[in-house]
Amino acid sequence: MLVNQLSPGIITLIVIGVIFIMIVLWYIGVMNKLRQLELKVDEAESGIDVALTKRFDMLTKMLDTTKGYAKHEAETLEKVVKWRSGIPENATLEEKAEFQEQMDQVARGINVVVEKYPDLKANTVFLELQQSIRNAEEHLQAARRLYNANVTKINHIIVTFPQSIVANAIHMEKKPYFEAEDRKREDVEMNF
Protein backbone atom coordinates (compact mmCIF):
# COMPACT_ATOMS: atom_id res chain seq x y z
CA MET A 1 0.00 0.00 0.00
CA LEU A 2 1.22 3.47 -0.95
CA VAL A 3 -0.01 4.96 2.35
CA ASN A 4 2.20 2.53 4.29
CA GLN A 5 5.24 3.72 2.35
CA LEU A 6 4.64 7.39 3.23
CA SER A 7 6.28 8.85 6.27
CA PRO A 8 4.08 10.32 9.04
CA GLY A 9 5.39 13.79 8.23
CA ILE A 10 4.20 13.59 4.62
CA ILE A 11 0.81 12.25 5.70
CA THR A 12 0.44 15.17 8.09
CA LEU A 13 1.35 17.56 5.30
CA ILE A 14 -1.20 16.00 2.96
CA VAL A 15 -3.92 16.21 5.62
CA ILE A 16 -3.05 19.84 6.32
CA GLY A 17 -3.00 20.53 2.57
CA VAL A 18 -6.45 18.97 2.10
CA ILE A 19 -7.86 20.93 5.04
CA PHE A 20 -6.30 24.10 3.67
CA ILE A 21 -7.80 23.52 0.21
CA MET A 22 -11.20 22.85 1.80
CA ILE A 23 -10.95 26.09 3.78
CA VAL A 24 -9.96 28.03 0.66
CA LEU A 25 -12.88 26.52 -1.29
CA TRP A 26 -15.29 27.32 1.53
CA TYR A 27 -13.90 30.88 1.71
CA ILE A 28 -14.39 31.36 -2.04
CA GLY A 29 -17.88 29.89 -1.80
CA VAL A 30 -18.96 32.24 1.00
CA MET A 31 -17.31 35.20 -0.73
CA ASN A 32 -19.15 34.46 -3.99
CA LYS A 33 -22.41 34.02 -2.15
CA LEU A 34 -21.94 37.39 -0.44
CA ARG A 35 -21.04 39.11 -3.71
CA GLN A 36 -24.06 37.60 -5.45
CA LEU A 37 -26.33 38.71 -2.65
CA GLU A 38 -24.79 42.16 -2.70
CA LEU A 39 -25.58 42.33 -6.39
CA LYS A 40 -29.15 41.30 -5.67
CA VAL A 41 -29.41 44.00 -3.01
CA ASP A 42 -28.15 46.58 -5.54
CA GLU A 43 -30.61 45.33 -8.15
CA ALA A 44 -33.42 45.54 -5.63
CA GLU A 45 -32.35 49.08 -4.74
CA SER A 46 -32.54 50.11 -8.37
CA GLY A 47 -36.02 48.54 -8.36
CA ILE A 48 -36.89 50.97 -5.55
CA ASP A 49 -35.50 53.84 -7.65
CA VAL A 50 -37.67 52.83 -10.61
CA ALA A 51 -40.75 52.59 -8.43
CA LEU A 52 -40.03 55.92 -6.70
CA THR A 53 -39.51 57.62 -10.07
CA LYS A 54 -42.75 56.14 -11.39
CA ARG A 55 -44.63 57.36 -8.35
CA PHE A 56 -42.99 60.77 -8.60
CA ASP A 57 -43.96 61.09 -12.29
CA MET A 58 -47.54 60.14 -11.55
CA LEU A 59 -47.81 62.54 -8.63
CA THR A 60 -46.35 65.34 -10.78
CA LYS A 61 -48.95 64.67 -13.45
CA MET A 62 -51.63 64.58 -10.80
CA LEU A 63 -50.50 67.92 -9.41
CA ASP A 64 -50.67 69.38 -12.93
CA THR A 65 -54.25 68.15 -13.24
CA THR A 66 -55.06 69.48 -9.78
CA LYS A 67 -53.73 72.93 -10.76
CA GLY A 68 -56.75 73.40 -13.01
CA TYR A 69 -58.98 73.24 -9.94
CA ALA A 70 -56.80 74.47 -7.07
CA LYS A 71 -53.76 76.28 -8.40
CA HIS A 72 -52.49 77.67 -5.12
CA GLU A 73 -52.76 74.40 -3.21
CA ALA A 74 -51.08 72.45 -6.01
CA GLU A 75 -48.17 74.88 -6.17
CA THR A 76 -47.70 74.69 -2.41
CA LEU A 77 -47.64 70.92 -2.60
CA GLU A 78 -45.09 71.02 -5.40
CA LYS A 79 -42.65 72.82 -3.11
CA VAL A 80 -42.77 69.98 -0.59
CA VAL A 81 -40.67 67.72 -2.81
CA LYS A 82 -36.94 68.34 -2.50
CA TRP A 83 -35.91 67.05 -5.92
CA ARG A 84 -38.02 68.56 -8.67
CA SER A 85 -36.57 66.36 -11.38
CA GLY A 86 -36.72 63.03 -9.58
CA ILE A 87 -34.08 61.09 -7.64
CA PRO A 88 -30.42 62.03 -8.21
CA GLU A 89 -28.14 59.11 -9.07
CA ASN A 90 -26.01 59.41 -5.94
CA ALA A 91 -28.90 59.64 -3.46
CA THR A 92 -28.48 57.54 -0.34
CA LEU A 93 -31.08 55.13 0.94
CA GLU A 94 -31.99 57.55 3.76
CA GLU A 95 -32.49 60.32 1.22
CA LYS A 96 -34.69 58.06 -0.85
CA ALA A 97 -36.76 57.25 2.23
CA GLU A 98 -37.04 60.97 2.91
CA PHE A 99 -38.08 61.52 -0.71
CA GLN A 100 -40.73 58.89 -0.29
CA GLU A 101 -42.03 60.63 2.83
CA GLN A 102 -42.23 63.90 0.92
CA MET A 103 -44.26 62.17 -1.76
CA ASP A 104 -46.52 60.72 0.93
CA GLN A 105 -47.04 64.27 2.15
CA VAL A 106 -47.98 65.41 -1.37
CA ALA A 107 -50.37 62.50 -1.77
CA ARG A 108 -52.03 63.38 1.55
CA GLY A 109 -52.27 66.98 0.38
CA ILE A 110 -53.96 65.89 -2.85
CA ASN A 111 -56.46 63.92 -0.78
CA VAL A 112 -57.34 67.10 1.10
CA VAL A 113 -57.70 69.06 -2.17
CA VAL A 114 -60.02 66.41 -3.56
CA GLU A 115 -62.24 66.75 -0.53
CA LYS A 116 -62.43 70.51 -1.15
CA TYR A 117 -62.99 70.25 -4.92
CA PRO A 118 -65.28 67.28 -5.56
CA ASP A 119 -65.32 68.12 -9.30
CA LEU A 120 -61.87 66.58 -9.50
CA LYS A 121 -63.41 63.18 -8.89
CA ALA A 122 -65.31 63.50 -12.16
CA ASN A 123 -62.17 64.26 -14.16
CA THR A 124 -61.30 61.18 -16.25
CA VAL A 125 -57.60 62.00 -16.45
CA PHE A 126 -57.51 62.41 -12.68
CA LEU A 127 -59.24 59.06 -12.18
CA GLU A 128 -56.80 57.30 -14.48
CA LEU A 129 -53.89 58.90 -12.67
CA GLN A 130 -55.37 57.78 -9.39
CA GLN A 131 -55.34 54.21 -10.73
CA SER A 132 -51.76 54.55 -11.93
CA ILE A 133 -50.62 55.99 -8.61
CA ARG A 134 -52.15 53.10 -6.77
CA ASN A 135 -50.31 50.78 -9.11
CA ALA A 136 -47.05 52.68 -8.54
CA GLU A 137 -47.61 52.47 -4.77
CA GLU A 138 -47.94 48.70 -5.06
CA HIS A 139 -44.78 48.47 -7.17
CA LEU A 140 -42.93 50.54 -4.62
CA GLN A 141 -44.13 48.34 -1.79
CA ALA A 142 -43.04 45.22 -3.70
CA ALA A 143 -39.63 46.72 -4.48
CA ARG A 144 -39.20 47.68 -0.84
CA ARG A 145 -40.12 44.18 0.35
CA LEU A 146 -37.81 42.52 -2.17
CA TYR A 147 -34.96 44.83 -1.14
CA ASN A 148 -35.52 44.18 2.56
CA ALA A 149 -35.79 40.42 1.99
CA ASN A 150 -32.41 40.45 0.23
CA VAL A 151 -30.91 42.64 2.96
CA THR A 152 -32.13 40.16 5.57
CA LYS A 153 -30.43 37.31 3.69
CA ILE A 154 -27.09 39.08 3.32
CA ASN A 155 -27.11 40.48 6.88
CA HIS A 156 -27.85 37.04 8.21
CA ILE A 157 -24.64 35.72 6.61
CA ILE A 158 -22.62 38.78 7.64
CA VAL A 159 -23.44 38.34 11.34
CA THR A 160 -23.27 34.54 11.47
CA PHE A 161 -20.03 32.86 12.51
CA PRO A 162 -17.90 31.61 10.71
CA GLN A 163 -19.19 33.36 7.54
CA SER A 164 -18.70 36.64 9.41
CA ILE A 165 -14.91 36.07 9.11
CA VAL A 166 -15.17 36.16 5.30
CA ALA A 167 -17.50 39.19 5.44
CA ASN A 168 -14.99 41.05 7.62
CA ALA A 169 -12.08 40.04 5.40
CA ILE A 170 -13.75 41.49 2.30
CA HIS A 171 -14.96 44.54 4.29
CA MET A 172 -18.60 43.80 3.80
CA GLU A 173 -20.85 45.52 6.29
CA LYS A 174 -24.47 45.07 7.26
CA LYS A 175 -26.81 46.66 4.73
CA PRO A 176 -29.45 49.15 5.85
CA TYR A 177 -33.14 48.38 5.48
CA PHE A 178 -35.41 50.61 3.46
CA GLU A 179 -37.83 51.63 6.15
CA ALA A 180 -41.39 52.64 5.41
CA GLU A 181 -43.85 53.17 8.14
CA ASP A 182 -46.92 51.16 7.33
CA ARG A 183 -49.12 53.58 9.24
CA LYS A 184 -47.99 56.40 7.01
CA ARG A 185 -48.51 54.31 3.90
CA GLU A 186 -52.08 53.60 4.91
CA ASP A 187 -52.66 57.32 5.38
CA VAL A 188 -51.80 58.10 1.79
CA GLU A 189 -53.89 55.44 0.12
CA MET A 190 -55.65 57.22 -2.70
CA ASN A 191 -59.25 56.41 -2.00
CA PHE A 192 -61.43 58.98 -3.66
Binding site: A44, G47, R134, A142, N148
Partner: protein
Protein backbone atom coordinates in the same frame (compact mmCIF):
# COMPACT_ATOMS: atom_id res chain seq x y z
CA UNK B 1 -90.17 24.16 -5.18
CA UNK B 2 -86.61 23.08 -4.36
CA UNK B 3 -87.88 20.56 -1.82
CA UNK B 4 -90.38 19.18 -4.32
CA UNK B 5 -87.63 18.72 -6.86
CA UNK B 6 -85.41 17.07 -4.27
CA UNK B 7 -88.21 14.66 -3.33
CA UNK B 8 -88.81 13.87 -7.01
CA UNK B 9 -85.14 13.07 -7.64
CA UNK B 10 -84.89 11.08 -4.42
CA UNK B 11 -87.89 8.95 -5.45
CA UNK B 12 -86.44 8.31 -8.90
CA UNK B 13 -83.05 7.52 -7.41
CA UNK B 14 -84.52 5.13 -4.87
CA UNK B 15 -86.43 3.33 -7.65
CA UNK B 16 -83.20 2.82 -9.60
CA UNK B 17 -81.28 1.77 -6.50
CA UNK B 18 -83.95 -0.89 -5.82
CA UNK B 19 -83.45 -2.31 -9.29
CA UNK B 20 -79.69 -2.23 -8.86
CA UNK B 21 -79.99 -4.22 -5.64
CA UNK B 22 -82.18 -6.76 -7.45
CA UNK B 23 -79.62 -6.99 -10.28
CA UNK B 24 -76.85 -7.50 -7.74
CA UNK B 25 -78.88 -10.20 -5.99
CA UNK B 26 -79.47 -12.03 -9.31
CA UNK B 27 -75.75 -11.97 -10.11
CA UNK B 28 -74.86 -13.25 -6.64
CA UNK B 29 -77.51 -15.97 -6.92
CA UNK B 30 -76.09 -17.05 -10.28
CA UNK B 31 -72.62 -17.18 -8.79
CA UNK B 32 -73.83 -19.31 -5.86
CA UNK B 33 -75.63 -21.76 -8.17
CA UNK B 34 -72.55 -21.97 -10.37
CA UNK B 35 -70.32 -22.57 -7.35
CA UNK B 36 -72.60 -25.29 -5.95
CA UNK B 37 -72.88 -27.10 -9.28
CA UNK B 38 -69.15 -26.92 -9.72
CA UNK B 39 -68.35 -28.06 -6.18
CA UNK B 40 -70.72 -30.99 -6.16
CA UNK B 41 -69.84 -32.10 -9.70
CA UNK B 42 -73.50 -32.05 -10.49
CA UNK B 43 -74.93 -32.24 -13.95
CA UNK B 44 -72.51 -30.23 -16.09
CA UNK B 45 -75.28 -29.77 -18.65
CA UNK B 46 -76.94 -27.52 -16.08
CA UNK B 47 -73.95 -25.20 -15.92
CA UNK B 48 -75.44 -22.97 -18.60
CA UNK B 49 -78.32 -22.12 -16.23
CA UNK B 50 -76.34 -19.96 -13.75
CA UNK B 51 -74.54 -18.44 -16.71
CA UNK B 52 -77.80 -17.34 -18.28
CA UNK B 53 -79.08 -16.07 -14.93
CA UNK B 54 -75.81 -14.19 -14.41
CA UNK B 55 -75.95 -12.68 -17.89
CA UNK B 56 -79.55 -11.57 -17.33
CA UNK B 57 -78.51 -10.04 -14.02
CA UNK B 58 -75.64 -8.18 -15.71
CA UNK B 59 -77.93 -6.86 -18.44
CA UNK B 60 -80.43 -5.75 -15.79
CA UNK B 61 -77.60 -4.04 -13.92
CA UNK B 62 -76.32 -2.20 -16.98
CA UNK B 63 -79.78 -1.06 -17.98
CA UNK B 64 -80.34 0.50 -14.58
CA UNK B 65 -76.86 1.96 -14.39
CA UNK B 66 -77.63 3.66 -17.70
CA UNK B 67 -80.88 4.90 -16.17
CA UNK B 68 -78.94 6.29 -13.23
CA UNK B 69 -76.57 7.99 -15.60
CA UNK B 70 -79.56 9.62 -17.34
CA UNK B 71 -80.95 10.67 -13.97
CA UNK B 72 -77.63 12.31 -13.09
CA UNK B 73 -77.73 14.25 -16.36
CA UNK B 74 -81.33 15.28 -15.74
CA UNK B 75 -80.44 16.36 -12.20
CA UNK B 76 -77.62 18.54 -13.48
CA UNK B 77 -79.60 19.97 -16.37
CA UNK B 78 -82.59 20.92 -14.27
CA UNK B 79 -81.96 21.11 -10.56
CA UNK B 80 -78.33 22.20 -10.48
CA UNK B 81 -78.69 24.60 -13.40
CA UNK B 82 -81.53 26.36 -11.60
CA UNK B 83 -79.69 26.32 -8.28
CA UNK B 84 -76.54 27.81 -9.80
CA UNK B 85 -78.47 30.50 -11.64
CA UNK B 86 -80.07 31.55 -8.36
CA UNK B 87 -76.65 31.82 -6.68
CA UNK B 88 -74.70 33.47 -9.50
CA UNK B 89 -76.97 35.32 -11.92
CA UNK B 90 -76.02 34.87 -15.56
CA UNK B 91 -73.92 31.77 -14.97
CA UNK B 92 -73.80 29.23 -17.76
CA UNK B 93 -73.60 25.59 -16.74
CA UNK B 94 -72.89 22.87 -19.29
CA UNK B 95 -72.58 19.53 -17.49
CA UNK B 96 -71.50 17.58 -20.57
CA UNK B 97 -68.76 20.00 -21.61
CA UNK B 98 -65.51 20.95 -19.98
CA UNK B 99 -62.42 23.08 -20.36
CA UNK B 100 -60.28 22.26 -23.36
CA UNK B 101 -56.95 20.57 -22.74
CA UNK B 102 -55.25 23.68 -24.13
CA UNK B 103 -56.87 25.87 -21.48
CA UNK B 104 -55.97 23.43 -18.71
CA UNK B 105 -52.29 23.29 -19.71
CA UNK B 106 -52.09 27.07 -20.11
CA UNK B 107 -51.76 27.27 -16.34
CA UNK B 108 -48.35 25.56 -16.77
CA UNK B 109 -48.56 23.65 -13.52
CA UNK B 110 -49.92 20.40 -14.92
CA UNK B 111 -48.05 18.02 -17.14
CA UNK B 112 -49.73 16.75 -20.29
CA UNK B 113 -51.90 13.73 -19.71
CA UNK B 114 -52.16 10.55 -21.73
CA UNK B 115 -55.87 10.52 -21.04
CA UNK B 116 -57.83 13.75 -20.55
CA UNK B 117 -61.39 14.19 -19.39
CA UNK B 118 -63.30 17.30 -18.38
CA UNK B 119 -66.93 18.06 -17.58
CA UNK B 120 -69.22 20.37 -15.60
CA UNK B 121 -68.24 23.51 -17.43
CA UNK B 122 -69.13 26.78 -15.71
CA UNK B 123 -68.83 30.20 -17.24
CA UNK B 124 -69.92 33.57 -15.95
CA UNK B 125 -69.07 36.83 -14.32
CA UNK B 126 -68.99 37.89 -10.67
CA UNK B 127 -68.42 41.53 -9.76
CA UNK B 128 -67.35 42.11 -13.38
CA UNK B 129 -64.70 39.39 -13.23
CA UNK B 130 -65.02 36.74 -15.95
CA UNK B 131 -64.40 33.14 -14.99
CA UNK B 132 -64.55 29.66 -16.41
CA UNK B 133 -64.09 26.36 -14.63
CA UNK B 134 -64.67 22.66 -14.93
CA UNK B 135 -63.93 19.30 -13.38
CA UNK B 136 -60.79 17.79 -14.85
CA UNK B 137 -59.35 14.30 -14.71
CA UNK B 138 -55.84 13.66 -15.98
CA UNK B 139 -54.37 10.19 -16.29
CA UNK B 140 -50.94 8.87 -17.01
CA UNK B 141 -50.34 5.73 -19.09
CA UNK B 142 -48.36 3.01 -17.40
CA UNK B 143 -47.17 -0.31 -18.75
CA UNK B 144 -46.71 -3.42 -16.67
CA UNK B 145 -44.83 -6.47 -17.98
CA UNK B 146 -46.06 -9.76 -16.56
CA UNK B 147 -45.70 -13.43 -17.40
CA UNK B 148 -48.94 -13.25 -19.34
CA UNK B 149 -47.81 -10.33 -21.44
CA UNK B 150 -47.86 -6.57 -21.36
CA UNK B 151 -50.60 -4.78 -19.50
CA UNK B 152 -51.45 -1.13 -20.10
CA UNK B 153 -53.26 0.81 -17.42
CA UNK B 154 -53.93 4.43 -16.53
CA UNK B 155 -53.25 6.13 -13.22
CA UNK B 156 -54.95 9.43 -12.37
CA UNK B 157 -52.63 12.16 -11.14
CA UNK B 158 -55.08 15.05 -11.14
CA UNK B 159 -58.74 14.69 -10.18
CA UNK B 160 -60.28 17.99 -9.27
CA UNK B 161 -61.14 21.38 -10.65
CA UNK B 162 -59.46 23.97 -12.80
CA UNK B 163 -60.51 27.63 -12.72
CA UNK B 164 -59.54 30.52 -14.92
CA UNK B 165 -60.21 34.13 -13.87
CA UNK B 166 -59.62 37.45 -15.53
CA UNK B 167 -56.55 39.03 -14.04
CA UNK B 168 -55.52 42.42 -15.31
CA UNK B 169 -52.66 43.45 -13.16
CA UNK B 170 -49.62 44.34 -15.22
CA UNK B 171 -47.01 41.66 -14.64
CA UNK B 172 -43.55 40.97 -15.91
CA UNK B 173 -43.42 37.25 -16.61
CA UNK B 174 -45.43 34.60 -14.92
CA UNK B 175 -45.82 33.68 -11.28
CA UNK B 176 -46.67 30.27 -9.86
CA UNK B 177 -47.64 29.42 -6.31
CA UNK B 178 -47.73 25.67 -5.88
CA UNK B 179 -48.51 23.57 -2.86
CA UNK B 180 -46.21 20.90 -4.23
CA UNK B 181 -44.20 20.12 -7.34
CA UNK B 182 -42.68 22.58 -9.76
CA UNK B 183 -43.91 24.39 -12.89
CA UNK B 184 -44.44 22.25 -15.97
CA UNK B 185 -43.12 24.68 -18.47
CA UNK B 186 -40.07 25.52 -20.55
CA UNK B 187 -39.96 29.00 -19.06
CA UNK B 188 -37.07 29.89 -16.82
CA UNK B 189 -38.62 30.13 -13.41
CA UNK B 190 -36.68 31.15 -10.33
CA UNK B 191 -37.63 29.86 -6.94
CA UNK B 192 -38.56 32.83 -4.78
CA UNK B 193 -38.37 33.00 -1.01
CA UNK B 194 -40.81 35.45 0.50
CA UNK B 195 -40.56 37.06 3.94
CA UNK B 196 -43.19 34.77 5.43
CA UNK B 197 -41.54 31.59 6.70
CA UNK B 198 -44.92 29.89 7.07
CA UNK B 199 -45.85 30.72 3.50
CA UNK B 200 -42.51 29.43 2.22
CA UNK B 201 -43.07 26.19 4.12
CA UNK B 202 -46.54 25.63 2.76
CA UNK B 203 -46.09 26.87 -0.82
CA UNK B 204 -43.36 26.90 -3.40
CA UNK B 205 -43.20 30.17 -5.32
CA UNK B 206 -41.72 30.32 -8.80
CA UNK B 207 -41.42 33.41 -10.90
CA UNK B 208 -39.70 34.62 -14.01
CA UNK B 209 -39.04 37.91 -12.19
CA UNK B 210 -38.50 38.01 -8.46
CA UNK B 211 -40.14 41.43 -8.17
CA UNK B 212 -43.35 40.04 -9.73
CA UNK B 213 -43.68 37.60 -6.83
CA UNK B 214 -43.42 40.41 -4.28
CA UNK B 215 -45.78 42.57 -6.33
CA UNK B 216 -48.57 39.99 -6.47
CA UNK B 217 -48.03 38.23 -3.18
CA UNK B 218 -48.62 41.06 -0.77
CA UNK B 219 -49.03 40.07 2.90
CA UNK B 220 -52.83 40.31 2.48
CA UNK B 221 -52.83 38.04 -0.55
CA UNK B 222 -50.55 35.52 1.14
CA UNK B 223 -52.97 35.39 4.06
CA UNK B 224 -55.89 34.99 1.63
CA UNK B 225 -54.14 32.12 -0.14
CA UNK B 226 -53.54 30.42 3.19
CA UNK B 227 -57.18 30.82 4.13
CA UNK B 228 -58.39 29.61 0.73
CA UNK B 229 -56.26 26.51 1.05
CA UNK B 230 -57.78 25.79 4.45
CA UNK B 231 -61.36 26.32 3.25
CA UNK B 232 -60.92 24.19 0.13
CA UNK B 233 -58.84 21.13 0.99
CA UNK B 234 -56.75 19.49 -1.67
CA UNK B 235 -53.53 20.27 -3.39
CA UNK B 236 -53.89 23.83 -4.63
CA UNK B 237 -51.91 25.59 -7.37
CA UNK B 238 -52.02 29.16 -8.63
CA UNK B 239 -50.59 30.53 -11.85
CA UNK B 240 -50.67 34.29 -12.45
CA UNK B 241 -50.08 35.97 -15.80
CA UNK B 242 -50.87 39.51 -16.92
CA UNK B 243 -54.13 38.32 -18.42
CA UNK B 244 -55.35 35.38 -16.41
CA UNK B 245 -55.19 33.63 -13.10
CA UNK B 246 -55.36 29.83 -13.22
CA UNK B 247 -56.17 27.81 -10.13
CA UNK B 248 -56.12 24.04 -9.82
CA UNK B 249 -57.50 22.13 -6.85
CA UNK B 250 -56.50 18.50 -6.89
CA UNK B 251 -58.87 17.04 -4.29
CA UNK B 252 -59.69 13.67 -5.82
CA UNK B 253 -63.30 14.75 -6.04
CA UNK B 254 -65.83 14.68 -8.85
CA UNK B 255 -68.08 17.62 -8.07
CA UNK B 256 -71.79 18.09 -8.73
CA UNK B 257 -72.52 14.35 -8.87
CA UNK B 258 -75.52 12.43 -7.57
CA UNK B 259 -74.32 9.55 -5.45
CA UNK B 260 -75.80 6.08 -5.37
CA UNK B 261 -77.21 4.88 -2.06
CA UNK B 262 -76.82 8.28 -0.49
CA UNK B 263 -79.90 10.35 0.13
CA UNK B 264 -80.08 13.63 -1.71
CA UNK B 265 -80.51 15.81 1.36
CA UNK B 266 -80.28 19.52 2.15
CA UNK B 267 -76.73 18.87 3.35
CA UNK B 268 -75.83 17.46 -0.05
CA UNK B 269 -77.28 20.54 -1.70
CA UNK B 270 -75.17 22.70 0.62
CA UNK B 271 -72.08 20.84 -0.59
CA UNK B 272 -73.05 21.60 -4.21
CA UNK B 273 -73.48 25.25 -3.27
CA UNK B 274 -70.13 25.32 -1.50
CA UNK B 275 -68.44 23.75 -4.53
CA UNK B 276 -69.94 26.39 -6.77
CA UNK B 277 -69.19 29.31 -4.50
CA UNK B 278 -65.47 28.50 -4.46
CA UNK B 279 -65.44 30.80 -7.49
CA UNK B 280 -66.93 33.71 -5.58
CA UNK B 281 -64.64 32.99 -2.64
CA UNK B 282 -61.54 33.20 -4.85
CA UNK B 283 -62.67 36.43 -6.51
CA UNK B 284 -63.39 38.11 -3.20
CA UNK B 285 -60.46 36.70 -1.21
CA UNK B 286 -57.85 37.50 -3.83
CA UNK B 287 -59.57 40.85 -4.47
CA UNK B 288 -59.86 40.15 -8.18
CA UNK B 289 -62.91 42.43 -8.13
CA UNK B 290 -60.76 45.45 -7.22
CA UNK B 291 -60.65 48.09 -9.93
CA UNK B 292 -56.99 47.44 -10.56
CA UNK B 293 -57.71 43.88 -11.68
CA UNK B 294 -60.75 44.62 -13.79
CA UNK B 295 -60.75 44.77 -17.52
CA UNK B 296 -60.63 48.42 -18.50
CA UNK B 297 -63.23 49.78 -20.87
CA UNK B 298 -60.79 50.59 -23.66
CA UNK B 299 -59.24 47.09 -23.62
Amino acid sequence: MKNEALTKFNQKKKGIEKHLIIAGAIIILAAIIFFLLYQNNLNTDMMFLPMIIGALGAIYLFVHLAKFSSLKKEFKQTFLKELFASLIPGIEYMPGSGLSSQTVYEGEFLKKADRFHSEDYLQGKIDDVDFISSDVRLEERRVRHTKNGTQVYYVPYFVGRIFRFDFHKELVGRLQVLESGSPKSRRRFKKVELESIDFNKKFRVFSEEELTAFYILTPDIMEAIFALEKRHPGNISFSFSDQQLYIGINNNKNTFELKLFKQLSEEEVEIFKHDLLVIKDVIQSLKLNNNIFKKREEE
